[in-house]
């Protein structure tokens, strides 16, 4: 391994170091606040390290990793999401749990797993990344173990993830049988020219199960609502953003390497999955009264939209999907941020009644939630609109008419339940409850400021998407 290759891995090493730093700090009995600050600093170092290594990219570390602009983009979105999740976590866990510190170990490990997925070019690294991510998530989901649903949802996730991992392994084995290689590019080269054999197709179909499960696509979506509901709100935000970004990144890289979109059969399978996800996600969310479950269904639909950008398998598709994921991450983070900040000691703020008349009590929070819901619904001048628009454009350019039409129609259905929440926000207020003095004024302020910044980002990306698109394009040139 040359120096440059080692250097290129620096951000990932810093990220891995973050967990170790946290462990050491716990051993030294430092306070939650110190750990929070240290964790945040480690994330900042990761970002700095990414900036530092930018010039030497791309680097291929045979046979497991490749670090290029593509990976940098997806890792960037993951780090960004985790940074926000970390900020949101402080107040949430400080108020609920006597041992909030170990949470950060798991969070950074999960992040590392997701980040490894973005740079893997080999089945081994893929599987390692996926398992680091999943194992951390089992514990994260069940972290508030005294709560009713926590253990249940953690177990559900564990069993289903184990099941689908088994399918993934079997799929990989089939690939290996067919091509004699576990490297994406080598598999692609073996397959080039020749018609893919039946084992290859079967292997792919089995892999689709694992990927579909992680991305919560229909028909592997059934866990989503229960887990979203049972997990602590910041962890839900993590599942909705970082974990999905990582899995989607590896799916994209793999499909580009093996020219997955060339196969009409697989194209149809993915179209079918996308269409089913869009329809079912939106319909399930329609009359949902629990906001965490509602966001779970909405995320099913949104991943369906995202798959439309994945279908063409071109540069434009990648651009659209990165932008979409970024916009989606900001939006969903601000939505879960509101859920987090409104949650009480006993219960997450998941019932819609909590939000009744929020605007009259806490106008800033209501505004952030309203903007993020508008963005999820794809109303113009928000990031969500433009993201959906370029996905549509990509789909239309490649004549994927059926998914595109379904996208448009289901967006209309989606509008209903987003607007339903927004109208609840502005409904006449119930009697004002006594104002609690925030326990941690500084972190309270930081959380508010973060949410405000997220809201501004949603609007700015919606009005001036040009620079962001241009930035994405430049990063994708590094290959």
């Amino acid at each position: 391994m040359s120096n440059e290759q080692l250097l290129a891995l620096l951000p990932f090493m810093v990220l891995a170091g973050a967990s170790i730093v946290v462990i050491l700090m716990i051993a030294a009995r430092l306070s939650h606040t110190a750990i929070q600050v240290a964790g945040f600093l480690m994330l900042c170092f990761t970002v700095l390290a990414m900036g530092y290594v930018r010039d030497i990219l791309p680097q291929e570390i045979l046979p497991l990793f490749i670090i290029d602009g593509f990976a940098a983009l997806y890792t960037g979105v993951i780090i960004f999401s985790v940074g926000v999740v970390g900020l949101l976590s402080y107040i949430y866990f400080e108020e609920r749990e006597e041992n909030p510190k170990e949470y950060y170990i798991l969070l950074f490990l999960a992040t590392l797993g997701a980040a490894v997925l973005t740079i893997s070019r080999h089945f081994v690294s893929l599987f390692l990344g996926l398992e680091i991510l999943s194992v951390s998530l089992y514990a994260l989901i069940a972290y508030l173990r005294n709560r009713n649903n926590a253990i249940e949802s953690g177990l559900k996730y564990l069993i289903l993830a184990a099941l689908t991992s088994a399918f993934l392994l079997l799929g990989m084995a089939l690939f290996y049988m067919e091509t004699g290689s576990m490297e994406f590019n080598a598999i692609g080269q073996k397959l080039a020219g020749s018609d893919p054999g039946v084992l290859f197709k079967l292997g792919l179909a089995l892999m689709v199960v694992a990927i579909g499960f992680k991305l919560a696509l229909v028909p592997f979506h059934l866990w989503a609502a229960d887990v979203y509901q049972g997990a602590p709100a910041p962890v839900t935000a993590f599942i909705a953003t970082a974990s999905k970004v990582g899995v989607f990144a590896v799916l994209m890289r793999f499909s580009l390497a093996v020219n997955l979109q060339q196969s009409e059969f697989l194209l149809n399978v993915f179209s079918g999955i996308a269409i089913a996800s869009m329809i079912l996600g939106n319909i399930l969310a329609l009359r949902q009264q629990n906001i965490k479950r509602l966001l779970a269904y909405s995320s099913i639909a949104h991943l369906g939209y995202l798959i439309v950008a994945f279908l063409p398998g071109t540069r434009e598709g990648i651009e659209a999907s990165v932008f979409y994921l970024f916009a989606y991450a900001i939006t969903i983070l601000s939505a879960f941020g509101i859920v987090t900040i409104l949650s009480t000691r006993m219960k997450d703020a998941e019932d819609l009644s909590v939000y009744r008349g929020l605007f009259w009590r806490k106008p800033l929070l209501a505004a952030v939630l309203a903007v993020s819901l508008f963005s999820l619904a794809g109303i113009p001048l928000t990031a969500g609109f433009f993201a959906k628009f370029i996905v549509l454009l990509t789909g239309a350019n490649y004549n994927l008419w059926l998914p595109v039409i379904v996208l448009v129609l289901t967006s209309v259905i989606g509008l209903y339940y987003y607007l339903r929440i927004i109208s609840t926000l502005f409904a006449s207020a119930p009697a004002a409850e006594p104002r609690h003095k925030p326990l941690h004024p500084f972190f309270h302020f930081v959380t508010y400021a973060t949410l405000f910044v997220l809201m501004v980002m949603i609007c700015v990306l919606g009005v001036f998407p040009g620079p962001a698109i241009e930035g994405i394009r430049q990063f994708l040139m590094i290959r």
Partner: protein, 661 residues
């Protein structure tokens, strides 16, 4: 900002070395002069816009003394800018400033760009100068109002939109201004929104002008389809190569534009909103519904003259619309009792003259009449507002009376305005502008004796109702006590406008009497000259008849109103006359006509279709979606084995499909 740009320009001037004033340096200086003008062109609409923003955002927190300073100050500022611009203006080089690209999409590229030529300057001058006077007047007039800031905010937004309308050099920006003034008109007619009839009047004005706007929008679409651009100079330059004279498409476009103009300028058949628009405060009537917005239609036709020149039919229709409107509105003005409604009908009638002039191709005469009309009609409205306020909000002229002694200043200024409206020969501006229109309605190639006769009749009627208004309001006995006299902030604009109402006429004399044609020379670069027929009656005879008719009208009005108050005399009590009077009083029953032809059938259809049939489709979709939601919700039962079953079913389906395929 301005000074800084001047300084920087000065530096560039010294650095470009020209030791002695050569031709090049003269050209240089001219170029620099232009550049200075270009640099501050945007200030003209930006100042009122800034005023609007400040007043609407901070209005509630500003003191009552600061509000008029911002509201009127911004307009005065842009008036000063316009005057500076007019001084520097070089007719050879129209000025253009592109601020930024608004949007562009394939062929359609729209810039926020302003440009100024002589026609624009005339409008700019009237808008900002008369606007500034009216704002000063309003500072005193509206002082006691609860929504002082809202009033000035709307007025400033209006000025900004109107300036955009006349400075725009593409039709999209023009349309933005066009809709902006419509919006402000709506807001200001309904300014006292607590009274339902005011809101109703505002809705009526908005709805009726929308009809015209829609026609205009279609016209713009067609223009774009034909020319692939909406940049006005390009359209005007290419129109003659693109179309033959009298082409059907071009006539359609022209008529659609006329539709917009007719709606905005309250001409037949969309005139019925303007009398009701008098529900707004008097300064609003003076500014929007007399001096500026209602003449936007005139501006539009004059601006797009290249299209109309090639379409004689459209021109003829414009002339006929103007002729009919001026008579209809004049007759209605004869019998009104509300002072502001009299003036409103008179406005409709005077704009009818402008349309008549446009229709016969007397472009400069139309704009000149706009110019003089803006002064004297704004004056009349402001004076009427002062009277109304002093008489405890009394609108009926028959409850006024005897104000000549009580309010002498108002009397003299009103007299100046009324004389100008009646076109009293040789001493009023109205005479000079109307005389031109009458002369061309006979003498221009598109003119004919019938139009001339109609115009003369209109002048006769105008003289009668003006005299009636004057006599009833200012002579006779005092019927309502004058509570207080208007202060200097209200009288100063009146005096200035009164002087202008008299004086501005002298810049343009009938060409057979004296060779003074400042105004038509000024606009000759922009508007084509009027083509006259040959072998017609000597102008002196026509002028003589016109003067005679005016004086005769004044005499008739005087006899009827002063000697024996007109509507009380026995010989007017016959049923026939009463019904005619009623017919005119209600504006020729156009409201009832539209009510029966459009509103009632529409309401009938809506009642029939109360349970909207089309709605059934949507309720069906939403019911279906809810039904599906219930069905699929069953799948989310929380049972792990069912979830695993789901995953396995998924993989089975995929594998099966693969095997089959």
């Amino acid at each position: 900002m301005l000074r800084r740009s001047l300084a920087s320009l000065g530096m560039t001037n010294t650095s470009s070395r020209h030791p002695e004033p050569s031709e090049a340096s003269v050209r240089d200086r001219r170029r620099i002069k232009e550049r200075i003008m270009e640099n501050y062109l945007y200030l003209i609409p930006a100042l009122p816009l800034a005023g609007f923003l400040i007043l609407s955002l901070l209005g509630k927190n500003l003191s009552k003394n600061l509000i008029p300073v911002i509201g009127a100050g911004s307009v005065i500022g842009s008036a000063i800018a316009v005057i500076l611009l007019a001084i520097q203006y070089d007719p050879e080089n129209p000025v253009r400033q592109i601020l930024w690209q608004w949007f562009s999409s394939e062929d359609l590229s729209v810039a926020i760009s302003l440009s100024v030529d002589a026609l624009t300057i005339v409008f700019l001058f009237v808008i900002t100068f008369v606007g500034a006077l009216i704002h000063i007047y309003s500072a005193a007039f509206m002082r006691e109002d609860r929504d002082y800031a809202r009033f000035f905010a709307s007025m400033n937004l209006f000025i900004c939109s109107m300036l955009l309308l006349v400075m725009a050099d593409n039709l999209v920006l023009l349309y933005l201004g066009w809709e902006g003034v419509g919006l402000c008109s709506y807001l200001l007619i309904g300014f006292w929104y607590e009274k339902p009839e005011n809101s109703r009047a505002a809705n009526k004005a908005f709805t009726i002008t929308r009809i015209g706007d829609t026609a205009m929008l279609i016209g713009l679409f067609m223009l774009f389809q034909e020319f692939r651009t909406l940049y006005i100079p390009d359209i005007l330059n290419n129109v003659s190569q693109h179309f033959e004279s009298g082409s059907a498409t071009l006539t359609t476009i022209a008529l659609l534009l006329v539709g917009g103009a007719v709606g905005k300028s309250a001409q037949l058949p969309l005139q019925s909103w303007l009398p009701d628009a008098m529900a707004g405060p008097s300064p609003v009537s003076a500014l929007i519904h007399a001096a500026t917005m209602v003449t936007a239609g005139v501006y539009l036709i004059a601006r797009m003259h290249g299209i109309f020149v090639l379409s004689p039919e459209a021109m003829a229709i414009v002339a006929i619309i103007g002729a009919i409107t001026l008579i209809i509105a004049g007759c209605s003005a004869l019998v009104q009792t509300d002072i502001k409604r009299i003036l409103a009908y008179s406005t409709i009638s005077q704009i009818g003259y402008m349309f008549l002039a446009l229709g016969v191709g007397a472009w400069s005469a139309a704009i000149f009449h706009f110019f003089t009309h803006a002064f004297f009609k704004a004056l009349l409205f402001l004076a009427a507002g002062a009277i109304i306020e002093s008489l405890h909000h009394e609108h009926s002229i028959f409850k006024m009376g005897g104000l000549r002694k009580k309010m002498p200043l108002i009397f003299y200024t009103f007299l100046a305005g009324a004389a100008s409206l009646a076109a009293l020969p040789f001493i009023t501006s109205g005479f000079f502008s109307k005389e031109q229109i009458l002369g061309y309605s006979f003498g221009a190639v598109n003119g004919n004796p019938i139009l001339w006769v109609v115009g003369i009749t209109g002048a006769f009627i105008t003289a009668i109702y003006t005299t009636r208004l004057m006599v009833v309001v200012f002579w006779g006995e005092e019927k309502t006590h004058v509570s207080h006299l208007p202060g200097p902030a209200m009288t100063l604009p009146l005096v200035v406008l009164a002087i202008l109402s008299i004086a501005v006429g002298f810049i343009e004399w009938p060409h057979n009497l004296m060779h003074v044609a400042v105004f038509s020379d000024y606009v000759q670069n922009v508007l084509p000259a009027t083509v006259e027929r040959e072998n017609i009656a000597p102008p002196l005879v026509l002028q003589g008849i016109a003067i005679f008719m005016t004086l005769f009208g004044i005499y008739v009005g005087y006899m009827n109103c002063y000697r024996k108050p007109i509507w009380k005399a026995n010989n007017y009590q016959t049923p026939l006359f009463q019904s005619l009077r009623n017919f005119w009083f209600k504006g020729w029953l156009f409201d009832d006509l539209y009510n029966n032809v459009f509103v009632k059938p529409f309401l009938f259809i809506t009642t029939v279709n109360r349970k909207d049939i089309i709605d059934k489709i949507y309720t069906g979709i939403s019911n279906g979606a809810s039904q599906l939601h219930r069905m699929f919700s069953v799948s989310q039962n929380g049972s792990l084995r069912w979830y695993i079953g789901g995953v396995l079913a998924g993989i089975l389906i995929i594998v099966t499909i693969q095997m089959i395929v």
